[in-house]
C-alpha cells in the first residue's frame, strides 16, 4: 500500500471505520447508486448499515445504474425504500424506469425536492407528472427525456412550478414549435433551457422564448435540427443569453422524412456534438458496421444511438408527428 509507512505501525492496521462519517457517509457511500447501497454497501458491516440508514445518505437518489438482475417491479420497491430512508430530505432524484404510481409516491414523501430527472420511460405520463409537481413547490430543475407528455401538459407544469429555473426536454420528433410556445407561455422564471431533438423550424418560436423567458442565462438548441436562425436573431440571442448554443445544419444520423439522404460520418460526429453527447463507441476499423454490430461497447450511448436510428419509413410511422 502506498500509504503504509514503515515508521508508522498504526497505518498498517488502520481502521477505516474510524473515518469521519461525513466523509464515509455522504461524501463517498452517498455517491453510489441506490441499488448498490441497498444491495451491497449496507451489508458490509454493522457500522456501514447504520450509516446507510442516515437520511443524509439519501438526499440524492440515482436509480440510473445497478440494473443487473432486477425487474421493474423490484426496482420500484428499491426506489420506494430509498425514498423512505430519505425521511423527506430528498432533494434530487433520477429515474429511468417506473410508473406514475412511483412518481406519486416520490412526490408525496419529498416536499423538499428541487431536481427531478425522468429519462427513457414512456410509462411516465404528462398527467402523472402534473399531479406530482403540484406537490413539489421547491422544484427548480426538471429534466425529461423520452416520456409521454403532450404540449398542454408542459404548459400546466410550467404554471404549477413557478420556481422552475432549469428545464430540459429531450425527445425526437416532437413538435418543437408548439413546445416552445408552451414554455414561453408558462415558464417565465427559467434560467436554463435545453431542447434536444425537437422539430422546431420557426424562428418566431425562438423569439417567443426570448420574450417569454427574459431571465435565460443559457439556451441550448443544438439538438433542434431544422432550425435556421436568421442572422439578426442569432445575434440577438448571443447578446441576450450568456451561454447560447446553436448549430446550423445539423443532420440526424439516419435518413428520415425530414432529410433525404444518410448522414456522412463527419455529420454523425456533428450530430452527437450538436446534442452535447459523445458519439457511441464502435470499432472504426470494422467495415461491417451494420445496425446490429456495435461490438462490445454497448452502453447508454448505444441505446441512444439506436433510438436515433429510425432507419425505415415503417418504423418512423410508429411515431406521432404533429405538423406545425
Amino acid at each position: 500500500m502506498a500509504s503504509t509507512s514503515a515508521g508508522d505501525p498504526s497505518s498498517e492496521s488502520r481502521n477505516w471505520l474510524e473515518m469521519p462519517e461525513e466523509i464515509m457517509g455522504g461524501m463517498i457511500l452517498g455517491r453510489l447508486g441506490a441499488v448498490e447501497i441497498l444491495d451491497s454497501v449496507q451489508k458490509v458491516c454493522r457500522n456501514w448499515r447504520r450509516i446507510c440508514k442516515d437520511p443524509a445518505m439519501w438526499k440524492v437518489i440515482d436509480m440510473n445504474n445497478g440494473f443487473d438482475g432486477l425487474n421493474p417491479d423490484d426496482l420500484e420497491k428499491v426506489c420506494k425504500q430509498a425514498v423512505d430512508r430519505s425521511c423527506g430530505e430528498l432533494i434530487d432524484i433520477t429515474l429511468n424506469f417506473g410508473t406514475d404510481d412511483l412518481l406519486d409516491y416520490v412526490s408525496l414523501c419529498s416536499r423538499k425536492l428541487t431536481r427531478l430527472c425522468l429519462t427513457d420511460c414512456y410509462a411516465f405520463t404528462g398527467c402523472g407528472l402534473n399531479y406530482a409537481v403540484k406537490r413539489l413547490p421547491h422544484l427548480e430543475t426538471l429534466e425529461l427525456s423520452y416520456i409521454s407528455i403532450d404540449t398542454e401538459e408542459i404548459e400546466v407544469i410550467g404554471h404549477n412550478c413557478p420556481q422552475l429555473k432549469s428545464f430540459t426536454m429531450e425527445n425526437e420528433f416532437r413538435d418543437g414549435d408548439v413546445d416552445a410556445h408552451a414554455i414561453a407561455n408558462s415558464m417565465p422564471a427559467l434560467r436554463h433551457l435545453k431542447l434536444v431533438g425537437s422539430i422546431m423550424d420557426s424562428d418566431d418560436r425562438v423569439r417567443a422564448i426570448l420574450s417569454g423567458c427574459p431571465h435565460l442565462q443559457s439556451l441550448d438548441i443544438r439538438g433542434c435540427f431544422y432550425l435556421h436562425l436568421d442572422g439578426n436573431l442569432e445575434k440577438l440571442c448571443r447578446e441576450r443569453i450568456k451561454d447560447f448554443k446553436f448549430k446550423r445544419n445539423n443532420i440526424p444520423p439516419v435518413r428520415n422524412e425530414y432529410s433525404d439522404r444518410d448522414a456522412t460520418p463527419s455529420e454523425i460526429d456533428d450530430f452527437f456534438d450538436g446534442i452535447g453527447m459523445d458519439r457511441p463507441e464502435y470499432d472504426d476499423e470494422d467495415d461491417d458496421d451494420d445496425d446490429n454490430d456495435y461490438g462490445n461497447g454497448i452502453d447508454d450511448d448505444y441505446w441512444y444511438f439506436q433510438r436515433c436510428t429510425i432507419s425505415g419509413k415503417d418504423d418512423f410511422d410508429d411515431y406521432t408527428v404533429y405538423s406545425p
Binding site: S5, R14, W16, M19, I28, G33, S40
Partner: protein, 146 residues
C-alpha cells in the same frame, strides 16, 4: 523580502515547510494565521507524514484557477490506492481543502462502485461483524435482491 514560511507537523512528528501564501489555501491554516499569526509549528495530529507530503505537493503545485479542476482530478487519479485516497480525504477534511476532499472522495466512490461485498471488505480491511440473526433480518428485508 523573502516569503513567509510556515511549518506543519505530522502525527509522526515530521516537520514540513511551506510558504504561507500557498498554505492558506487550507481554510484551517488561513484561520490560524489570521488569529495568531501562526508563528510556531502547526500540529496536524491526524495526518501522517506521507499524506502530509502529498498535501504539500498539492498545495505547492497549484495551477491557474481555470486549470485547477483538471489538475486536482489528475492528482487523485495518479494516486489510485484506496487507503492513500482515504488518508488524503481525511487530511483535506482536517485542513479544510474542499476541492481536494471532493476529488479524493469521488475517486474512492468510483473505485468501490464495481466492487463485490468481499472486495469492499478486503480493500478497506473491514470485518463482517454482523450476527447470523442480523444477516437474516437483512435478507428478509431485501428479498428482491436474492
Amino acid at each position: 523580502m523573502s516569503k513567509k514560511t510556515l511549518t506543519l507537523m505530522s502525527k509522526d512528528k515530521q516537520l514540513f515547510n511551506i510558504e504561507e501564501h500557498l498554505a492558506v489555501q487550507s481554510v484551517t491554516i488561513r484561520n490560524m494565521v489570521k488569529e495568531d499569526g501562526a508563528s510556531s509549528v502547526i500540529p496536524l495530529p491526524r495526518v501522517d507524514s506521507e499524506t502530509l507530503a502529498l498535501v504539500i505537493e498539492y498545495l505547492n503545485r497549484q495551477q491557474a484557477p481555470e486549470e485547477d479542476e483538471d489538475y486536482v482530478k489528475k492528482f487523485v487519479d495518479e494516486r489510485g490506492e484506496i487507503p492513500t485516497l482515504l488518508e488524503l480525504a481525511q487530511a483535506a477534511l482536517d485542513l479544510d481543502i474542499k476541492k481536494l476532499m471532493d476529488a479524493a472522495c469521488m475517486k474512492v466512490a468510483d473505485l468501490i462502485k464495481d466492487f463485490t461485498l468481499e472486495e469492499v471488505r478486503e480493500a478497506l480491511r473491514i470485518e463482517n461483524d454482523r450476527t447470523p440473526e442480523e444477516e437474516k433480518a437483512i435478507r428478509d428485508e431485501f428479498q428482491w435482491a436474492f
